[in-house]
């Protein structure tokens, strides 16, 4: 994939626009070292030995020495395994000729006693921080300052089920540590979340990058100061104040303590997982960015730079893209000759391919036209370019796009950009030498990020800008009173996650294929095959559902039938893959690897396919980025409508389709099935994911029934079974049942609660139900009142209790193994029980989707009570709006 950047140069003087083609590759080449066959280098630390050899530590606990890393042919670089058996080397530094590696559980010095390039000794410098065993407790590093002190940053822990609230269960999770050369550890700064990158600038000031998530709206670059706090509250549990008061920081309300400003908030579309940072001190060997900060980026697989300045005594500044299409860059380091080595890894994190190995990014010697520096003025920016601009072809101020925004400080995963305001550009003026453009704009405000795109700027020789955008974080303006405002604003806590999950059915959670007709699909971990980018290689795991199994893959067809529905799922494609999601098995939304989109086609990813007598609809925008990247798909789909005679009165309609939050389709009606769709049209039909000859990986398929006109009479005839107290109901077992705010609550030891009447035969039954984490309950019908496990039909209520039969199961008669509803989440349960000549038919709906349809020919239970189960101590079930219709 070598994306050609198309730059349109509109000339101000009325001449025909000229299209100039240039590519990042014209200025920075990328090639890759070739590790020994079969070896996977998931690079977490990178540096150079005094003799110029490269040394990398990996997440697989290996350390490799690479001979001749600057060889003209990258295949000539030789790999020697120096050490193995470490636990996750996410930091490496060669200091005074000694090799230091940061492992998850200790900072170590690796010693080769006899000089045979095999490590003989692993010396523990420090292991004084806590490791609870949680998977997310990464330790990152490893800069060393002039006094030989090490800096280490510790990830917070993520526990199920509320993984989105990062925790600090053991000491100093969420801290930056300073470790003295003698191993003494000093907790240095708190409030970090997932602090993947640490580095020192030329002045010896320490910086770290964090990853967007709870309390981190996007990825920032922070200047780290002793005892400062960077925003994630979990770490505060280990401050003296919290230890003394024996309180834990809230994971929902921002702490009273003020967080530090970030020197730079990197736009979400540029960075979703920032790696480490190094200073360009190459003396111009890497290009025109001497003295600036160079950063790796994992998710988007690119190299960024940040140019910071001190305004009112504190760092703030701008960031830019340097080079795309490098790979999942976790670590960067400069070689003597100015080559930037990029250590790649993304396992478990996601990111652009290549996903592992070592890349070399080298400047070709040709200087692009770039914004070299951006300095903040009270009313604008002073932009210095790498080459003089053509004063005759200065673009119009009104063609420039400048806007600003801020973020929310909350526990939600990341924050959208809030309060976008366009800032008018009032004038552009160029210095005598053509190098400095002063851009005067309308009012600038502190506590905002300014994003600017310069359009139409060209060098004297007509070369357009290679990258037209910068993002500048304004914590303070150069003049005026010092501002208290912060880019990340304290806002009311967002609603608890459970209410957002209400209504959703997780069709691939737990037993991923239980609710699907399929063959040849498997639950695995999938990555693009490095030897054949059009395929996946798989390993044991549960991150992807793939059509990579041994059997010939079929389409992946839901057993449930859907009508008006909101769909969310993740998907990932290898190169050239062509697949699709057929709504109702008939209407195809294209999922295809089509990253190079100079012209929108109806075969592009996000297109709606054409049919027998209508054309396909290309996507309005490009939401798809690349092969090997997980994308989030969200679709609002309306099924066709029919009148009572079965005549169609409304077409199927895609209300909205978005890929990675980019809306690609809006309000598109389809007159009939698309090519490859099933024939005919109906109100309800299964979802179908296409398996052509190419691979596709999907994940976390969820659907939610959209509000629509209800069928006539749907709400008629229902009678409440429960009127706010338990009068007439009978408890057998522990006295486990209470009523709180109109909700029946079961908790305590085993117990069953029976309805007053015991002669129910044919009926519809419905309720809103919530079961807690680890809880188990059941809604019984046609059940006999008595001790022990009651005899009757049981609609199971279980989200994540160990019993494999989950909510939606007709217990022991028709089990469902898929975890359709998350715990602690209200869902609508509806049951129809009818006996006719064939037997007793029991149907179960969750959130208006029929998930179980079972014919009990034996008519096992004839009539009885309605009852609720309290399964065990620790289980809590809540039931409201319990109603019956006979």
């Amino acid at each position: 994939m070598r994306e050609e950047l198309l730059a349109l140069v509109a000339l101000a003087c009325g001449v025909q626009p000229v299209v100039a083609l240039q590519s990042e590759a014209d200025y920075w080449t990328v090639d890759y070292l070739t590790p020994p066959s079969g070896e996977v280098l998931e690079v977490g630390g990178i540096d150079f030995l005094p003799d110029g050899r490269l040394i990398v530590s990996t997440r697989r606990g290996q350390v490799w020495i690479i001979d001749d890393p600057l060889a003209e042919d990258p295949a000539d670089a030789g790999f020697t395994l120096f050490a193995e058996g470490l636990w996750e080397g996410l930091g490496l530094n060669v200091h005074d000729g000694e090799i230091f590696v940061l492992q998850r559980t200790e900072l170590s010095r690796l010693v080769d006693i006899d000089g045979d390039d095999i490590c003989d000794e692993i010396e523990t410098i420090c292991n004084d921080w806590g490791v609870s065993g949680n998977y997310h407790e990464f330790a990152f590093g490893l800069p060393i300052d002039d006094e030989g002190n090490f800096y280490v940053s510790l990830n917070v822990s993520f526990f199920s089920p509320e993984w989105w609230h990062g925790k600090s269960p053991v000491s100093y999770r969420g801290w930056v540590l300073k470790i003295r050369p003698d191993g003494q550890m000093e907790p240095f700064a708190s409030g970090v979340r997932s602090p993947c990158g640490l580095g020192l600038n030329s002045e010896g000031d320490l910086f770290y990058t964090d990853n967007q998530g709870d309390w981190m709206p996007v990825c920032p670059i922070f200047h780290v100061k002793k005892d400062a706090f960077y925003g994630h509250p979990a770490s505060l549990d280990w401050t003296e104040q919290y230890l003394e008061s024996q309180t834990l920081a809230s994971d929902k309300v921002p702490p009273a303590r003020r967080r530090q400003n970030a020197a730079c908030w990197i736009p979400y579309d540029w960075s979703r997982s920032t790696g480490n940072l190094v200073m360009d001190e190459t003396g111009g060997k890497f290009g025109p960015f001497e003295g600036q900060m160079i950063l790796g980026e994992v998710t988007n697989g690119l190299i960024l730079r940040a140019q910071l300045e001190k305004v009112r005594g504190e760092y703030q500044g701008a960031c830019f893209i340097v080079r795309r299409q490098v790979g999942s860059t976790c670590r960067v380091a400069f070689a003597e000759d100015g080559t930037l080595f990029a250590g790649l890894t993304n396992r478990g994190w996601g990111g652009m391919n290549p996903a592992d190995g070592v890349a070399r990014v080298r400047w070709t010697g040709k200087t692009p036209l770039e914004m070299k520096e951006v300095h903040l003025l009270q009313r604008g920016f002073e932009v210095t370019f790498t080459q003089p601009l053509d004063p005759e072809r200065l673009p119009a101020p009104e063609d420039q796009k400048v806007f600003d925004y801020d973020y929310d400080y909350w526990w939600e995963y990341g924050s959208p950009e809030r309060d976008h305001f366009d800032i008018p550009v009032e004038s552009l003026s160029l210095s005598e030498d053509g190098l400095v453009l002063t851009m005067t704009v309308g009012e600038l405000a502190p506590g905002r990020v300014v994003r600017a795109r310069l359009s139409g700027v060209v060098a004297a020789d007509g070369t357009p800008l290679l990258h037209e955008e910068f993002a500048y974080t304004i914590n303070q303006l150069p003049e005026g009173p010092l501002s208290e405002k912060q880019v990340v604003k304290v806002v009311p806590p967002p609603p608890a996650r459970e209410s957002e999950e209400a209504g959703w059915l997780r069709l691939t959670w737990g037993d991923a294929t239980d609710l699907w007709e399929s063959s040849g699909w498997e639950l695995v971990h999938a990555e693009i095959d490095p030897s054949d980018q059009t395929r996946f290689t798989t390993s044991p795991g549960n991150s992807a559902l793939c059509n990579t199994g041994d059997e010939v893959p079929s389409d992946f067809v839901s057993k449930v039938e859907l009508g008006d529905v909101q769909l969310r799922m993740a998907f990932m494609l290898p190169e050239g893959s062509d697949s699709g999601v057929f709504f109702q098995g008939r209407y195809e939304l294209q999922l295809s690897d089509t990253p190079d989109r100079s012209e929108a086609l109806s075969t592009d990813c996000g297109a709606l396919s054409g049919g027998d007598d209508f054309d396909g609809v290309p996507p309005e925008r490009d939401g798809y980025s690349a092969a090997g990247v997980w994308h989030d798909l969200e679709v609002f789909f309306r099924a066709p409508r029919f009148d009572l005679q079965g005549r169609k009165i409304a077409n199927a309609r895609f209300e909205r389709v978005s890929i990675d939050d980019v809306v690609v389709q809006e309000n598109v009606e389809l007159p009939g099935p698309t090519l490859g769709g099933w024939k005919g049209e109906t109100a309800l039909a299964p979802l179908r994911i296409q398996s052509t000859g190419s691979h596709i990986a999907i994940g976390n398929v969820q659907v939610k029934t959209l509000e629509s006109e209800r069928e006539p009479g749907a709400d008629k005839g229902w009678v409440p079974l429960f009127d706010g107290d338990l009068e007439g109901w009978t408890t057998i077992g522990d006295d486990a049942w209470t009523v709180e705010d109109g909700v029946m609550v079961g908790s305590g030891e085993r117990s069953h609660l029976f309805s007053p009447r015991g002669d129910y035969t044919d009926f519809d039954l419905r309720a809103e139900i919530k079961i807690n984490d680890g809880g188990n309950s059941g809604l019984y019908f046609r059940v006999a009142q008595g001790p022990g496990w009651p005899a009757g039909y049981e609609a199971q209520i279980n989200s994540n209790f160990a019993d494999p039969q989950k909510s939606g199961s007709l217990y022991n008669l028709s089990p469902l193994l898929v975890h359709l509803v998350s715990q602690d989440t209200w869902f609508d349960y509806r049951i129809s029980c009818r006996t006719n000549a064939a037997g007793t038919r029991v149907r179960i709906w969750i959130n208006d989707v029929l998930v179980n349809d079972y014919l009990d020919r034996a008519e096992t239970y004839k009539a009885g009570h309605i009852a609720l189960q309290q399964h065990h101590q620790g289980s809590v079930v809540e039931v409201r709006k319990l109603e019956i219709r006979e």
Partner: protein, 393 residues
């Protein structure tokens, strides 16, 4: 197999070795299957049966392994089988043939035994670590070694070329147990990572039920205070570093509750096979870092130990019943007097060492398991005598 029995086998083996040696002087000649079969018949068939079906003539408490199904206690690769044949299986009648047979004979036997089964196993998956000629020290999270024991996020697993691995928690450097078989599956390389290691060897010795106490205490005015061990380094001594063979070592500091570091300790652990049983030994090289230090070695599960006798020259034998397996003998051996250091041995199963700053002492503990059957055959007194004899020489 009895002690005397194994001596008889040994004599036969020596005779056979001479015969086969004469036959295969040409190094290129493949061993004839008849030669491997001869080896099998002489060494293995009495327990495992002539056809390898476990129907041997020797009367055993538990029937010997049938090779027909291809299941093996410690792995079914040629390498793991060679190790099992060489080292034996502690706690079972399976003796080690490492001293009796040559490497090539063991290799031939391993292949022969494998061919009795359903076929060669698949290659190890790409997350399995295999120990080559160098020991391999692995850091990672250890799952509970026994029912009810804890997982240890800071774990050390030391794999040896002989197929044994020694499992320590690193926080306070305590040996949790000894395993035999394949080494470890690094499942934390899959998915998002951060999960526990999966040691593949079978636990052949468990120390302190999986939650052992401190190995050493400092005695001060009659009061013994356990000393905390802190990991200083792990090291592979080897030919390149002046050692004869590759030997994994752990270096740690012993610190008092006050934080004072009172001694530096180098520990080497390895499996041992004696005629009467098999087990492991831990050797310590101690350097005092306090001005004056009285160290006491804490035996494993001291409460269960019966003191069998001590000698003035620094040899003690203790026994402990292992339910269902037999008896575990713990032998403490002092190796040479440190110059100027004072030694003192008590008659209650405890030992003390007096050291001044920078003085050294060497100490080893051998833990040998003797099966019920051998116990019945020999009688305890005799085993005790044999053990003491073995260490005196």
């Amino acid at each position: 197999m009895t002690y005397l029995g194994s001596m008889r086998v040994l004599a036969l083996v020596i005779a056979l070795q001479q015969a086969t040696f004469a036959q295969s002087e040409d190094p290129h000649e493949r061993p004839r299957s008849t030669a491997a079969r001869e080896l099998f018949l002489v060494n293995c068939a009495s327990c495992h049966g002539e056809r390898g079906d476990g129907e041997g003539v020797t009367d055993l408490d538990r029937k010997a392994r049938s090779f027909k199904e291809g299941g093996f206690s410690y792995g079914n690769t040629p390498g793991t089988l060679r190790r099992t044949i060489s080292s034996g299986i502690p706690g079972t009648p399976m003796p080690g043939f490492g001293g009796a047979l040559k490497e090539k004979q063991i290799a031939d036997l391993a292949m022969y035994v494998l061919e009795l089964g359903p076929g060669l196993p698949p290659e190890p998956n790409n997350t399995e670590l295999v120990v080559g000629e160098r020991p391999l020290v692995v850091r990672g999270m250890l799952p509970p070694i026994a029912e009810g024991a804890l997982a240890h996020p800071r774990g050390l697993l030391i794999g040896r070329p002989d197929g044994f691995s020694f499992e320590y928690r690193a926080d306070d450097v305590r040996l949790l147990g000894v395993r035999q078989g394949r080494f470890v599956d690094r499942t934390d390389w899959i998915g998002r990572g951060g999960t526990a290691l999966k040691p593949l060897g079978k636990v052949v010795a468990l120390v302190g039920g999986g939650d052992p106490g401190a190995s050493f205490s400092r005695v001060d005015e009659g009061t013994a205070t356990p000393l905390r061990a802190e990991l200083v380094k792990t090291r592979i001594a080897g030919p390149g570093t002046g050692a004869r063979v590759y030997q994994p070592e752990i270096v740690c500091h012993l610190s008092a509750p006050t934080g004072e570091v009172v001694a530096r300790l180098v520990e080497r652990a390895s499996p041992v096979t004696l005629g009467i049983g098999a087990g492991y030994k831990r050797e310590w090289y101690i350097t005092a870092l306090a001005d004056s230090l009285q160290l006491k070695l804490n035996g494993p599960d001291q409460a269960d130990l019966t003191f069998l006798g001590g000698e003035a020259d620094g040899l003690e034998v203790m026994r402990r019943k292992l339910s269902g397996i037999g008896v575990e003998y713990t032998v403490v051996v002092r190796r040479g007097s440190p110059s100027g250091a004072e030694w003192s041995w008590e008659q209650n199963g405890k030992s003390g060492i007096f050291l001044k700053r920078h003085e050294h002492a060497e100490l080893s503990v051998w833990v040998i398991q003797v099966t019920e059957q051998d116990l019945r055959e020999f009688g305890e007194d005799r085993i005790g005598r044999e053990l003491k004899e073995a260490f005196k020489s």
